[in-house]
Assembly symmetry: C2
Homo-oligomer: 138 residues x 2
DNA sequence: TTATCCGTAACATTGATTGTTACATTAAAC
DNA sequence: GTTTAATGTAACAATCAATGTTACGGATAA
Protein backbone atom coordinates (compact mmCIF):
# COMPACT_ATOMS: atom_id res chain seq x y z
CA UNK A 1 0.00 0.00 0.00
CA UNK A 2 2.71 2.46 0.90
CA UNK A 3 4.61 1.61 -2.25
CA UNK A 4 1.50 2.53 -4.15
CA UNK A 5 1.23 5.86 -2.34
CA UNK A 6 4.86 6.60 -3.14
CA UNK A 7 4.18 5.65 -6.74
CA UNK A 8 1.42 8.25 -6.85
CA UNK A 9 3.82 11.00 -5.79
CA UNK A 10 1.92 12.62 -2.96
CA UNK A 11 -1.52 12.64 -4.53
CA UNK A 12 -4.54 11.94 -2.32
CA UNK A 13 -5.28 8.31 -3.18
CA UNK A 14 -8.70 6.93 -2.23
CA UNK A 15 -8.91 3.53 -0.60
CA UNK A 16 -10.76 2.10 -3.57
CA UNK A 17 -7.81 2.74 -5.86
CA UNK A 18 -5.38 1.02 -3.53
CA UNK A 19 -7.86 -1.81 -3.11
CA UNK A 20 -7.89 -2.33 -6.88
CA UNK A 21 -4.13 -2.67 -6.86
CA UNK A 22 -4.13 -5.22 -4.05
CA UNK A 23 -7.33 -6.85 -5.28
CA UNK A 24 -9.33 -6.55 -2.10
CA UNK A 25 -12.08 -4.51 -0.48
CA UNK A 26 -11.61 -0.78 0.22
CA UNK A 27 -12.59 -1.26 3.85
CA UNK A 28 -9.71 -3.66 4.32
CA UNK A 29 -7.35 -0.97 3.07
CA UNK A 30 -8.79 1.68 5.36
CA UNK A 31 -8.59 -0.72 8.28
CA UNK A 32 -4.94 -1.53 7.67
CA UNK A 33 -4.01 2.08 7.04
CA UNK A 34 -5.63 3.21 10.27
CA UNK A 35 -2.75 1.80 12.31
CA UNK A 36 -0.24 3.46 9.99
CA UNK A 37 -2.06 6.74 10.48
CA UNK A 38 -1.80 6.37 14.24
CA UNK A 39 1.92 5.79 13.77
CA UNK A 40 2.09 9.03 11.74
CA UNK A 41 3.40 7.28 8.64
CA UNK A 42 0.35 8.08 6.54
CA UNK A 43 -2.05 11.01 6.30
CA UNK A 44 -5.75 10.77 5.50
CA UNK A 45 -7.94 13.48 4.08
CA UNK A 46 -11.68 13.12 4.36
CA UNK A 47 -14.31 14.32 1.95
CA UNK A 48 -14.51 14.62 -1.80
CA UNK A 49 -11.16 14.45 -3.58
CA UNK A 50 -9.74 13.13 -0.33
CA UNK A 51 -7.66 10.03 0.18
CA UNK A 52 -4.42 8.76 1.65
CA UNK A 53 -0.87 9.95 1.19
CA UNK A 54 2.49 9.43 2.82
CA UNK A 55 3.04 11.62 5.86
CA UNK A 56 6.68 12.11 4.95
CA UNK A 57 8.99 11.78 1.97
CA UNK A 58 9.46 8.10 0.98
CA UNK A 59 13.14 8.29 1.91
CA UNK A 60 12.19 9.02 5.50
CA UNK A 61 10.16 5.88 6.19
CA UNK A 62 11.82 2.51 6.57
CA UNK A 63 10.13 -0.86 6.32
CA UNK A 64 11.01 -1.33 9.98
CA UNK A 65 8.73 1.54 10.96
CA UNK A 66 5.94 0.00 8.91
CA UNK A 67 6.57 -3.38 10.45
CA UNK A 68 6.43 -2.02 13.98
CA UNK A 69 3.34 0.02 13.28
CA UNK A 70 1.43 -2.97 11.98
CA UNK A 71 2.59 -5.50 14.58
CA UNK A 72 -0.23 -5.78 17.09
CA UNK A 73 1.74 -7.05 20.06
CA UNK A 74 5.17 -8.63 19.57
CA UNK A 75 4.96 -10.34 22.97
CA UNK A 76 1.83 -12.18 21.95
CA UNK A 77 3.64 -14.24 19.31
CA UNK A 78 5.18 -16.53 21.89
CA UNK A 79 2.23 -16.69 24.25
CA UNK A 80 0.43 -19.38 22.32
CA UNK A 81 1.41 -21.90 24.93
CA UNK A 82 1.43 -21.86 28.70
CA UNK A 83 4.14 -24.12 30.08
CA UNK A 84 3.68 -25.98 33.31
CA UNK A 85 5.43 -23.84 35.93
CA UNK A 86 5.87 -26.87 38.20
CA UNK A 87 8.11 -28.50 35.60
CA UNK A 88 11.76 -27.42 35.80
CA UNK A 89 11.87 -27.02 32.04
CA UNK A 90 8.51 -25.31 31.70
CA UNK A 91 9.33 -22.89 34.46
CA UNK A 92 12.36 -21.46 32.70
CA UNK A 93 11.82 -22.09 29.00
CA UNK A 94 9.68 -19.03 28.37
CA UNK A 95 12.32 -16.59 29.56
CA UNK A 96 15.07 -18.41 27.69
CA UNK A 97 13.18 -18.48 24.41
CA UNK A 98 12.05 -14.92 24.84
CA UNK A 99 15.63 -13.73 24.90
CA UNK A 100 16.56 -15.82 21.86
CA UNK A 101 13.55 -14.69 19.87
CA UNK A 102 14.29 -11.10 20.78
CA UNK A 103 17.72 -11.40 19.21
CA UNK A 104 16.33 -13.20 16.18
CA UNK A 105 13.78 -10.48 15.71
CA UNK A 106 16.51 -7.86 16.05
CA UNK A 107 18.40 -9.59 13.26
CA UNK A 108 15.38 -9.40 11.03
CA UNK A 109 14.58 -5.80 11.96
CA UNK A 110 18.10 -4.74 11.11
CA UNK A 111 17.46 -5.80 7.54
CA UNK A 112 14.09 -4.07 7.38
CA UNK A 113 15.67 -0.88 8.67
CA UNK A 114 17.98 -0.80 5.66
CA UNK A 115 15.11 -0.44 3.19
CA UNK A 116 13.02 2.69 2.71
CA UNK A 117 9.77 3.17 0.85
CA UNK A 118 11.77 5.11 -1.71
CA UNK A 119 13.97 2.06 -2.29
CA UNK A 120 10.90 -0.03 -2.98
CA UNK A 121 9.32 2.57 -5.22
CA UNK A 122 12.51 2.90 -7.22
CA UNK A 123 12.39 -0.79 -8.07
CA UNK A 124 8.91 -0.42 -9.48
CA UNK A 125 10.30 1.37 -12.52
CA UNK A 126 12.21 -0.41 -15.27
CA UNK A 127 15.92 0.25 -15.25
CA UNK A 128 16.01 1.32 -18.90
CA UNK A 129 14.61 4.88 -19.25
CA UNK A 130 13.24 4.18 -22.72
CA UNK A 131 10.95 1.56 -21.21
CA UNK A 132 9.20 3.93 -18.85
CA UNK A 133 5.74 4.68 -20.25
CA UNK A 134 3.34 6.90 -18.36
CA UNK A 135 1.11 4.13 -17.11
CA UNK A 136 -2.22 4.93 -15.61
CA UNK A 137 -2.70 3.12 -12.30
CA UNK A 138 -5.82 1.02 -12.09
CA UNK B 1 10.01 -29.95 23.45
CA UNK B 2 13.57 -30.48 22.31
CA UNK B 3 14.86 -28.63 25.36
CA UNK B 4 12.93 -31.11 27.44
CA UNK B 5 14.46 -34.05 25.58
CA UNK B 6 17.92 -32.60 26.13
CA UNK B 7 17.06 -32.12 29.78
CA UNK B 8 16.26 -35.82 30.02
CA UNK B 9 19.72 -36.77 28.75
CA UNK B 10 18.90 -39.21 26.01
CA UNK B 11 16.19 -41.16 27.81
CA UNK B 12 13.16 -42.30 25.80
CA UNK B 13 10.55 -39.74 26.80
CA UNK B 14 6.90 -40.53 26.09
CA UNK B 15 4.72 -37.85 24.56
CA UNK B 16 2.57 -37.67 27.67
CA UNK B 17 5.51 -36.51 29.74
CA UNK B 18 6.39 -33.75 27.30
CA UNK B 19 2.72 -32.82 27.11
CA UNK B 20 2.64 -32.34 30.87
CA UNK B 21 5.55 -29.92 30.61
CA UNK B 22 3.93 -27.88 27.87
CA UNK B 23 0.44 -28.31 29.34
CA UNK B 24 -1.23 -29.77 26.30
CA UNK B 25 -2.46 -33.04 24.81
CA UNK B 26 0.00 -35.87 24.02
CA UNK B 27 -1.31 -36.11 20.46
CA UNK B 28 -0.33 -32.51 19.86
CA UNK B 29 3.20 -33.36 20.89
CA UNK B 30 3.37 -36.39 18.65
CA UNK B 31 1.98 -34.37 15.78
CA UNK B 32 4.57 -31.62 16.15
CA UNK B 33 7.41 -34.07 16.64
CA UNK B 34 6.52 -35.97 13.49
CA UNK B 35 7.96 -33.21 11.31
CA UNK B 36 11.09 -33.13 13.43
CA UNK B 37 11.42 -36.88 12.98
CA UNK B 38 11.17 -36.49 9.23
CA UNK B 39 13.95 -33.91 9.48
CA UNK B 40 16.04 -36.44 11.43
CA UNK B 41 16.34 -34.21 14.46
CA UNK B 42 14.41 -36.55 16.74
CA UNK B 43 14.10 -40.31 17.06
CA UNK B 44 10.98 -42.19 18.11
CA UNK B 45 10.81 -45.64 19.61
CA UNK B 46 7.51 -47.49 19.55
CA UNK B 47 6.21 -49.95 22.08
CA UNK B 48 6.46 -50.22 25.83
CA UNK B 49 9.24 -48.15 27.42
CA UNK B 50 9.43 -46.29 24.13
CA UNK B 51 9.35 -42.57 23.55
CA UNK B 52 11.19 -39.72 21.91
CA UNK B 53 14.80 -38.68 22.10
CA UNK B 54 17.19 -36.39 20.28
CA UNK B 55 18.68 -37.94 17.17
CA UNK B 56 22.01 -36.27 17.83
CA UNK B 57 23.90 -34.65 20.68
CA UNK B 58 22.28 -31.34 21.71
CA UNK B 59 25.36 -29.44 20.55
CA UNK B 60 24.75 -30.65 17.01
CA UNK B 61 21.28 -29.21 16.52
CA UNK B 62 20.72 -25.49 16.11
CA UNK B 63 17.45 -23.66 16.53
CA UNK B 64 17.66 -22.83 12.84
CA UNK B 65 17.34 -26.50 11.94
CA UNK B 66 14.31 -26.77 14.20
CA UNK B 67 12.83 -23.63 12.69
CA UNK B 68 13.25 -24.91 9.17
CA UNK B 69 11.89 -28.33 10.00
CA UNK B 70 8.72 -26.90 11.50
CA UNK B 71 8.09 -24.22 8.88
CA UNK B 72 5.44 -25.61 6.57
CA UNK B 73 6.20 -23.52 3.50
CA UNK B 74 8.19 -20.29 3.80
CA UNK B 75 6.90 -19.05 0.45
CA UNK B 76 3.36 -19.27 1.66
CA UNK B 77 3.84 -16.51 4.24
CA UNK B 78 3.69 -13.79 1.61
CA UNK B 79 1.04 -15.35 -0.58
CA UNK B 80 -1.85 -14.12 1.49
CA UNK B 81 -2.64 -11.51 -1.10
CA UNK B 82 -2.85 -11.59 -4.85
CA UNK B 83 -1.97 -8.23 -6.36
CA UNK B 84 -3.62 -7.03 -9.53
CA UNK B 85 -1.15 -7.85 -12.28
CA UNK B 86 -2.66 -5.15 -14.51
CA UNK B 87 -1.54 -2.50 -12.03
CA UNK B 88 2.07 -1.35 -12.51
CA UNK B 89 2.63 -1.53 -8.75
CA UNK B 90 0.83 -4.81 -8.22
CA UNK B 91 2.70 -6.41 -11.09
CA UNK B 92 6.12 -5.87 -9.52
CA UNK B 93 5.56 -5.58 -5.79
CA UNK B 94 5.57 -9.29 -5.10
CA UNK B 95 9.03 -9.85 -6.48
CA UNK B 96 10.40 -6.78 -4.76
CA UNK B 97 9.00 -7.71 -1.36
CA UNK B 98 10.04 -11.30 -1.79
CA UNK B 99 13.66 -10.28 -2.09
CA UNK B 100 13.44 -7.97 0.91
CA UNK B 101 11.71 -10.55 3.07
CA UNK B 102 14.27 -13.12 2.04
CA UNK B 103 17.04 -10.92 3.41
CA UNK B 104 15.07 -10.14 6.54
CA UNK B 105 14.51 -13.82 7.14
CA UNK B 106 18.20 -14.46 6.56
CA UNK B 107 18.97 -11.92 9.28
CA UNK B 108 16.71 -13.75 11.68
CA UNK B 109 18.00 -17.17 10.73
CA UNK B 110 21.56 -16.07 11.33
CA UNK B 111 20.66 -15.49 14.96
CA UNK B 112 18.86 -18.80 15.28
CA UNK B 113 21.86 -20.58 13.83
CA UNK B 114 24.00 -19.28 16.68
CA UNK B 115 22.01 -21.15 19.33
CA UNK B 116 22.07 -24.91 19.88
CA UNK B 117 19.77 -27.07 21.93
CA UNK B 118 22.69 -27.51 24.30
CA UNK B 119 22.82 -23.75 24.80
CA UNK B 120 19.17 -23.73 25.73
CA UNK B 121 19.47 -26.73 28.00
CA UNK B 122 22.42 -25.16 29.80
CA UNK B 123 20.31 -22.18 30.72
CA UNK B 124 17.74 -24.39 32.36
CA UNK B 125 20.08 -25.02 35.25
CA UNK B 126 20.84 -22.38 37.89
CA UNK B 127 24.30 -20.86 37.59
CA UNK B 128 25.19 -21.58 41.21
CA UNK B 129 26.08 -25.29 41.60
CA UNK B 130 24.79 -25.37 45.17
CA UNK B 131 21.33 -24.59 43.88
CA UNK B 132 21.08 -27.60 41.60
CA UNK B 133 18.74 -30.11 43.22
CA UNK B 134 17.85 -33.35 41.49
CA UNK B 135 14.36 -32.35 40.44
CA UNK B 136 11.98 -34.93 39.13
CA UNK B 137 10.33 -33.77 35.90
CA UNK B 138 6.56 -33.77 35.94
C1' DT C 1 -26.34 21.19 -1.49
C1' DT C 2 -24.47 17.29 -3.41
C1' DA C 3 -21.11 13.92 -4.47
C1' DT C 4 -17.11 11.65 -2.46
C1' DC C 5 -14.40 9.83 0.78
C1' DC C 6 -12.75 8.38 5.53
C1' DG C 7 -13.72 5.89 10.14
C1' DT C 8 -15.74 2.32 12.31
C1' DA C 9 -19.05 -0.98 13.87
C1' DA C 10 -21.25 -5.32 12.92
C1' DC C 11 -21.37 -9.67 11.00
C1' DA C 12 -20.32 -13.73 8.07
C1' DT C 13 -16.69 -16.43 6.03
C1' DT C 14 -12.49 -18.54 5.72
C1' DG C 15 -8.43 -21.00 7.12
C1' DA C 16 -5.02 -22.52 10.36
C1' DT C 17 -4.14 -24.23 14.83
C1' DT C 18 -5.37 -26.80 18.64
C1' DG C 19 -7.68 -30.20 21.51
C1' DT C 20 -9.81 -34.67 21.73
C1' DT C 21 -11.16 -39.43 20.86
C1' DA C 22 -10.27 -43.56 18.64
C1' DC C 23 -7.73 -47.23 16.88
C1' DA C 24 -4.10 -49.87 14.36
C1' DT C 25 0.73 -51.01 15.03
C1' DT C 26 4.81 -51.93 17.53
C1' DA C 27 7.85 -53.68 21.07
C1' DA C 28 9.40 -54.64 25.83
C1' DA C 29 8.54 -57.45 29.92
C1' DC C 30 6.73 -60.93 32.44
C1' DG D 1 2.34 -65.79 24.33
C1' DT D 2 -0.06 -62.42 26.56
C1' DT D 3 -0.11 -58.12 28.53
C1' DT D 4 1.17 -53.51 28.79
C1' DA D 5 2.64 -49.23 27.13
C1' DA D 6 4.08 -46.70 23.53
C1' DT D 7 3.88 -44.30 18.62
C1' DG D 8 1.36 -42.92 14.15
C1' DT D 9 -2.47 -41.10 12.21
C1' DA D 10 -7.21 -40.31 10.95
C1' DA D 11 -11.35 -37.89 12.09
C1' DC D 12 -13.76 -34.30 14.05
C1' DA D 13 -14.98 -30.37 17.04
C1' DA D 14 -13.55 -26.02 18.94
C1' DT D 15 -11.08 -21.95 18.87
C1' DC D 16 -8.97 -17.88 17.05
C1' DA D 17 -7.24 -14.52 13.76
C1' DA D 18 -7.64 -12.58 9.31
C1' DT D 19 -10.50 -11.27 5.70
C1' DG D 20 -14.51 -9.78 3.06
C1' DT D 21 -18.80 -7.30 3.13
C1' DT D 22 -22.53 -4.14 4.21
C1' DA D 23 -23.95 -0.19 6.46
C1' DC D 24 -23.81 4.34 8.08
C1' DG D 25 -22.16 8.64 10.35
C1' DG D 26 -19.05 12.51 9.67
C1' DA D 27 -16.19 15.53 6.80
C1' DT D 28 -15.01 18.28 2.78
C1' DA D 29 -14.40 19.95 -1.89
C1' DA D 30 -16.97 21.67 -5.78
Amino acid sequence: MLAYLAFRKGAAVPSGEIAASVATNPVVIRRLLSSLIKARLVKAQKGAKGGFSLASAPENTSLLEIYRATQSNPEHSLNRFTPNQRCPVGAKIEGILHEIFFKAQAGMEAELARVSIADVERQLHPLCPSKRPKMIPV
